[in-house]
C-alpha cells in the first residue's frame, strides 16, 4: 500500500468520523474543513493539481465560511449549541443503515474485476488541455453551471431576505 495514500485516507476518514460525532457544532465544521483539505490532498496525490487547488479554494475558502456563518447566525450561546441530541434509536438505525450500505459497496468494489492502469503517469492533464476541454466540448456545461451559480445566488438572496419587511406580520 502506498504510505501517502494511507495517511490521506486516515486524515479523511478520521476527520469525517470526528466531525460526525462532535457535540460542538463549530468543532464539527472545523473538522470538516480538515476533511475537505484531506480530499484536496487526495486530488493532489492523484495528480489532479488544478482540482486540488480548486477544492481548497472553494471548500476551505468559501463553503467553510458559509457553514460557520450559518452556525453563528443561528446560535444560542456556545453552551446551547449542541443541545440537539438525536434519539438513540435514530442513531442506531442510522449507523446500521450506513454499515449495511458500506458492506454492499465494499463487497461490490472488491468483487468487481476493475481494469486499472497504474502505470499511467500522474498529472497527465495539463492546464492548457483542461482549459481547451472546458471552453471547447464542455462550453455548454460551463455556461449552464454559470447560470446555475447566478440563479442560486439570487435565490439565496431572495430566500434570506424574504422576511425583511414582512417580519412583524408573520405569525
Amino acid at each position: 500500500m502506498n504510505l501517502t495514500f494511507a495517511l490521506i485516507a486516515f486524515l479523511i476518514l478520521a476527520s469525517a468520523v470526528l466531525a460526525a460525532t462532535r457535540r460542538d457544532l463549530i468543532h464539527s465544521a472545523l473538522l470538516l474543513v480538515g476533511n475537505w483539505l484531506g480530499v484536496a490532498f487526495f486530488y493532489l496525490w492523484a495528480g489532479a493539481e488544478f482540482v486540488a487547488f480548486a477544492q481548497a479554494l472553494v471548500y476551505v475558502g468559501a463553503i467553510s465560511m458559509v457553514v460557520l456563518f450559518a452556525v453563528l447566525l443561528t446560535r444560542r450561546m456556545r453552551t446551547e449549541l449542541p443541545l440537539l441530541v438525536a434519539t438513540r434509536d435514530r442513531v442506531v438505525s442510522a449507523v446500521l443503515g450506513g454499515a449495511a450500505v458500506f458492506g454492499v459497496l465494499a463487497v461490490a468494489v472488491l468483487r468487481t474485476p476493475l481494469d486499472t492502469n497504474p502505470a499511467k503517469p500522474a498529472g497527465s492533464v495539463s492546464m492548457l488541455s483542461l482549459g481547451q476541454q472546458l471552453m471547447g466540448p464542455q462550453a455548454a456545461a460551463v455556461l449552464i453551471v454559470g447560470v446555475l451559480l447566478t440563479v442560486s445566488l439570487l435565490g439565496a438572496v431572495v430566500l434570506a431576505s424574504s422576511d425583511a419587511d414582512g417580519k412583524e406580520g408573520a405569525p
Partner: protein, 104 residues
C-alpha cells in the same frame, strides 16, 4: 486489492459516514454537512477512476466532472445557508424535525 479498489473503498467509507451523519443528526447544518461529505465521496470516485482507469478517448473527463461538481457545491452552499437562515427566522431553531410546515 489494487490502488483503484483502495480508493473506491475510501470513498465508500466516506460516503457512509456522510450518510450516517445525515440520517442520525437532527441539526439542519449537520445534516447538510453530511450531504456535503457524500458529495465529496462521489468526487473522490471520479478522480480515482480518472487516475487509474486505462486511457480513454476523453482524458480529462474525470477532472472536469469534479470541477463542475465543486461549482455546484458552491451554489448549493449558498442556497442552504439561505434556507437555514429562513428556517431559523421562522421557528427560532434549526431542528429539522420541527420544520414540518411549508408555510411559516
Amino acid at each position: 486489492m489494487n490502488m483503484l479498489q483502495a480508493c473506491l473503498l475510501l470513498s465508500s467509507a466516506l460516503f457512509c459516514i456522510g450518510l450516517v451523519t445525515a440520517l442520525s443528526r437532527s441539526n439542519t447544518i449537520l445534516v447538510l454537512l453530511g450531504i456535503e461529505i457524500m458529495l465529496n465521496a462521489a468526487n473522490l470516485n471520479f478522480i480515482a477512476f480518472w487516475r487509474f482507469s486505462p486511457a480513454g478517448s476523453a482524458p480529462a473527463t474525470g477532472v472536469i466532472f469534479v470541477l463542475f461538481s465543486i461549482a455546484v457545491a458552491a451554489a448549493e452552499a449558498a442556497v442552504w445557508l439561505a434556507l437555514v437562515i429562513a428556517l431559523y427566522r421562522h421557528q427560532q431553531n434549526i431542528r429539522l424535525q420541527e420544520a414540518t410546515r411549508l408555510k411559516g
